[in-house]
Symmetry: C2
């Protein structure tokens, strides 16, 4: 079983049309044949199919309010119980937590001006902007997700940046479906797992109903003109507060890994080898005065 793939499927650009769920599954756009959400609780959701199953869905084209699954009577399709944040519902929540893109496919049975007249159409990548609970029209709690289309200009801008970084090990082409805003990559997920989502500076681990939250901070920034790499030797696992402070140069890190500008020490696990040139780049550009004293 290959690893779950997030992002565009090569050879099937936005607007590609398919006759059936089986055809979608075959090319990997949406693997399950029946379920509307493709994904797992641990990996996140990589695609959804809108096919008009839920009366509470709202489709505005570039924004979709999507309803989770569960709690419906198999025969009548009516909501007869609360939905839980589990299975596909939790997978979509995880996609927000991890900043993963979700492929959206609209089917002809989807009740929306944006539905194709027949079959299924791949409509591009969306991000899960928000999720919450509310009482649906039937009076039971449902989980809802606000999906916002990822602007292709941003994808291509990011793609261009990653391709042009020659001097350092550049992020791979396949990561370009991931937005600059969210900056999720396999390496980012790896460093967060390495520290169990605890901040390397303060030990904070933020908890959500979809799991722990942490941020992967690049030491030497990605993109022009810094061209830092997306390798683990250029990443830190930080809480959002220390990520802000690091990006502004309020603190930096000495060659011996002691902290400059704030109290405390950096937690480092053995498997995490930071490249000293990256630390020097950050000090030189974001905290030059600390560099002189450090």
């Amino acid at each position: 079983m290959p690893e779950r793939f997030f992002g565009h499927i090569s050879g099937y650009p936005e607007g590609s049309w398919f006759e059936s769920r089986a055809a979608l599954a075959e090319v990997g756009l949406h693997r399950p044949l029946v379920a509307g959400i493709s994904g797992t609780e641990s990996e996140g959701a990589d695609s959804i199919v809108l096919s008009g199953g839920y009366e509470d869905d709202e489709d505005l084209g570039n924004e979709i309010v999507y309803t989770g699954h569960g709690g419906r009577d198999q025969d009548t399709g009516r909501q007869v119980a609360n939905q839980n944040l589990s299975r596909g519902n939790l997978a979509l929540a995880k996609s927000k937590l991890q900043g993963l893109s979700v492929r959206v496919i609209r089917g002809s049975t989807h009740k929306s001006d944006y539905a194709p007249s027949t079959g299924y159409r791949y409509d591009g990548l969306y991000r899960v902007e928000d999720y919450w609970q509310e009482r649906g029209r039937a009076g039971y709690y449902i989980w809802r997700y606000r999906l916002v289309k990822i602007v292709e200009d941003e994808i291509s801008a990011f793609s261009r940046v990653t391709e042009s970084s020659g001097a350092y090990s550049a992020p791979r082409r396949q990561e370009t479906t991931i937005l600059r805003i969210v900056r999720d990559t396999k390496q980012a997920r790896r460093i967060k797992a390495l520290y169990d989502y605890r901040c390397q500076v303060c030990g904070t681990r933020l908890e959500s109903n979809a799991g722990p939250y942490a941020e992967a901070a690049h030491i030497r920034p990605l993109g022009i003109p810094h061209n830092g790499s997306d390798a683990i030797n250029n990443l830190l696992c930080l809480c959002p507060n220390h990520h802000v402070l690091f990006d502004y140069g309020t603190f930096s890190i000495a060659d011996d890994l002691s902290l400059l500008g704030i109290e405390g020490t950096l937690t480092i696990v053995m498997q995490h080898e930071i490249h000293i040139e990256n630390l020097r780049y950050h000090r030189e550009h974001y905290s030059p005065m600390q560099n002189e004293s450090g």
Copy 2:
């Protein structure tokens, strides 16, 4: 003196052409007649003119690496001293800190494929993605800024959302030049000032070289389908960590303003009246279980 205006100037869309700096100043696109950066240290920068003054500038169209001012010899134009993070340089840094948009104007003397052949052209809104110091070609420290074009689709998407929210006092049309990503509004700036950039939950105040950093969190979210308002009665001043925890519903706030889900108490100043319906909306949608016990 009217308040500094951030965003598009009505009547002068992107692509508008002007013969001179005086013409730019007259319509308010870029008020100073000589300085490249328009803005103040306290308000931020609202516009810049690219006119080829600095040898270190890089212009890739949608991304610009811009060099700050100062340290140049008046006669030769050569860099003869380090640049400081003050005046226009600090104003641009403040624009990043506050998430403000910057109007970019290119002049014919700007050395770039994107420069107009004569006069000046307004090229739209950019955000300050990053700023840092580095040694310029002359060997002195200069301040540099990475400006990234704001994608118009995002502006219009946000604009549409704010316009369609009828039931509650909607964010005003003039705020639509500000991105969803940064969500800066006058109300956001006001609430941060009210708490002196300290988190209402933990008292944290993050410091940067351009001033303190805090985030304005909406209690009832903006946009479809929540349609929360951008008024101060729907805002909290939070550090990034507590913003994440609040948005995921890890904690919520009871009608008596006690915290649910985490320890501690909410700091409230007299001038800040929170609407209880907004707190209830957040509990109902993001922490239903806490709502039941709360």
